[in-house]
Symmetry: C2
Subunit: 323 residues, 2 copies
């Protein structure tokens, strides 16, 4: 845990040293506002831990870590326009606090900044190539997510592919970037990537569960927001598959209602159906499968077990295996 | 002219070989739709001509040329959302033909693709760094342009700085990228960059003039669109400076009217004031100054004059010195 805390501190120090300002202020104020909000710094941490695992130079790895955090925050700013989301992490979104045009433009600038940061270390060209690839995948995932809003029949497989692209590939790429800086072997980088994909899938499924089954205070979002927004999550799609004809029709109907209806009542009714069908438990079983695959890939990496301790501990904390 | 035509053809062939498609189709269709529209391919041509001038490898330079065209088209897609523009080059904009969300997302993917293309050649890291720098500058220029919409008093200097960032730096960077691929000397790259900045300033001033003083058929945009949109162009700002108190107040009032007013009448009245104050001629004089500075910088480049012929001819065609 000491190592994890130290890397967290190192990244915080690195962020504090970085100048996110510039002119015109209207462009840069939303950038500092977004990126300097406290967050888990999950992607930078995965990058730094992967680099540490392979004995890489932390000073070099801080750049892709910063690139990843900047890139991630760019996606949040643009996603919030598309979702017309007023709040994020309990604070006003850029879209809400400024306007859509400023949110588009400051997001664009952040995407360019992410590439600038990725290009800084010796292996900059390789890191920027990885960023380019994952950036496109994430756009593809977000487009799938937008498509799902109007698609009548989304399958569970399509949903899993969407969250792979929208969430898992960035975690996997964060690990890959850290290992690349450290000069790890290609086979080990591939295993680490696989670890990241599976961890990411589990992470997103957990996020879907927490959206409904946690309190607002710890999670910082509206309770049951996915249901209010008619998001077709794993919980919803699994429930549709397990439901009686009557429940299925009711669920489908509830997921056409817009926010002007009684939101609380809708969330309660959907949750009652979910609970009756035990979809939370089904979701947790799938999560456990992904976790198992993740840790199997981590184990297969050609390094002594003691080198993997910090990344393993961090991932266990994430996946809820460790509290 | 033979060389110019050949490079144009080579770039067209390179574009035709490039696969702009992908899944989901909703993300990639707007990308091919935009980038495969016929255009001047100005930025790619400047890149290829600069590379040719310094005897570089054309195969390597085609990549930054493609990156520049992809990047430029990304800016058009996002600008059209911000301007709520229905038409571009006489065709529906992505924003209009699809919707704002798809325009945001396919633009984002194109920005990532531009970096991927820039990273392809041997000097990929350097090229991507140049792209990162110019991408931020263009966001800054676009933000200044947005600010001008609501700002009461924009100075001519502020306007010139805005068009430098929004237009000129990309032309200068296109030349810089071509010369970088060719391994030109730093001092020559700087002169070429200066050539590009001045050419770009002249080019934008010409664009502002053509918006009002050309027929729709050749220009592909609405006649007097800048006046209809209350754009504070050089013509407008110069007119404000030269106008009598009465004309100035009238102009300022006309530039608060929104499109539900009689557009044709407004454009005619503004044009009558411009003509009376000879701001077209004033604008052309400033253009000529920039042109002169541009060609002086080109002359100072340490190469025999015959090596500069093709770039010079192309620039003369652009600036209207040659028809």
């Amino acid at each position: 845990m000491e190592k994890i805390k130290q890397l967290q501190q190192d990244f915080a120090d690195f962020m504090a040293k970085t100048d996110f300002g510039g002119n015109p202020a209207e462009l840069y104020a939303p950038i500092s506002y977004t990126i300097l909000q406290s967050g888990k710094r999950l992607r930078p941490m995965l990058c730094l831990l992967a680099n540490e695992m392979f004995g890489g130079d932390e000073q070099q790895a801080l750049w892709p870590a910063l690139a990843l955090e900047t890139f991630h925050n760019f996606t949040l700013i643009h996603d919030d326009i598309m979702d017309q989301a007023p709040l994020r992490r309990g604070k006003e979104t850029v879209y809400q606090k400024w306007n859509a045009n400023i949110a588009i433009l400051s997001g664009d600038a952040m995407l360019a900044m992410a590439f600038q940061y990725a290009l800084k270390p010796e292996k900059g060209a390789e890191l920027a190539q990885l960023l380019g690839k994952v950036a496109r995948e994430i756009c593809e995932g977000q487009q799938m997510d937008l498509n799902f809003e109007t698609l009548g029949n989304v399958t569970i497989d399509e949903y899993l592919e969407m969250i792979r692209l929208k969430t898992a590939v960035l975690l996997a790429s964060a690990l890959q970037m850290g290992a690349t800086v450290a000069g790890a072997k290609e086979a080990d980088i591939q295993l680490l990537y696989e670890f990241g994909i599976n961890l990411g899938m589990s992470f997103q499924l957990q996020d879907d569960i927490l959206d409904l089954y946690s309190d607002v205070a710890t999670f910082g979002k509206k309770h049951g927001g996915d249901i209010a927004d008619n998001k077709k999550t794993y919980l919803y799609l699994k429930a549709l598959g397990l439901a009686s004809e009557k429940d299925r029709k009711r669920l489908e109907h509830l997921f056409t209602l817009r926010i002007d209806h009684d939101e609380e009542e809708k969330i309660e009714e959907v949750q009652a159906i979910y609970d009756r069908l035990h979809v939370k438990e089904a979701s947790e079983r799938v999560m456990a499968d992904y976790d198992q695959k993740a840790f199997k890939a981590l184990e297969a990496i050609d390094l002594p077990a003691e080198r993997k301790i910090h990344l393993r501990t961090y991932a266990e904390l994430l996946s809820g295996r460790k509290k």
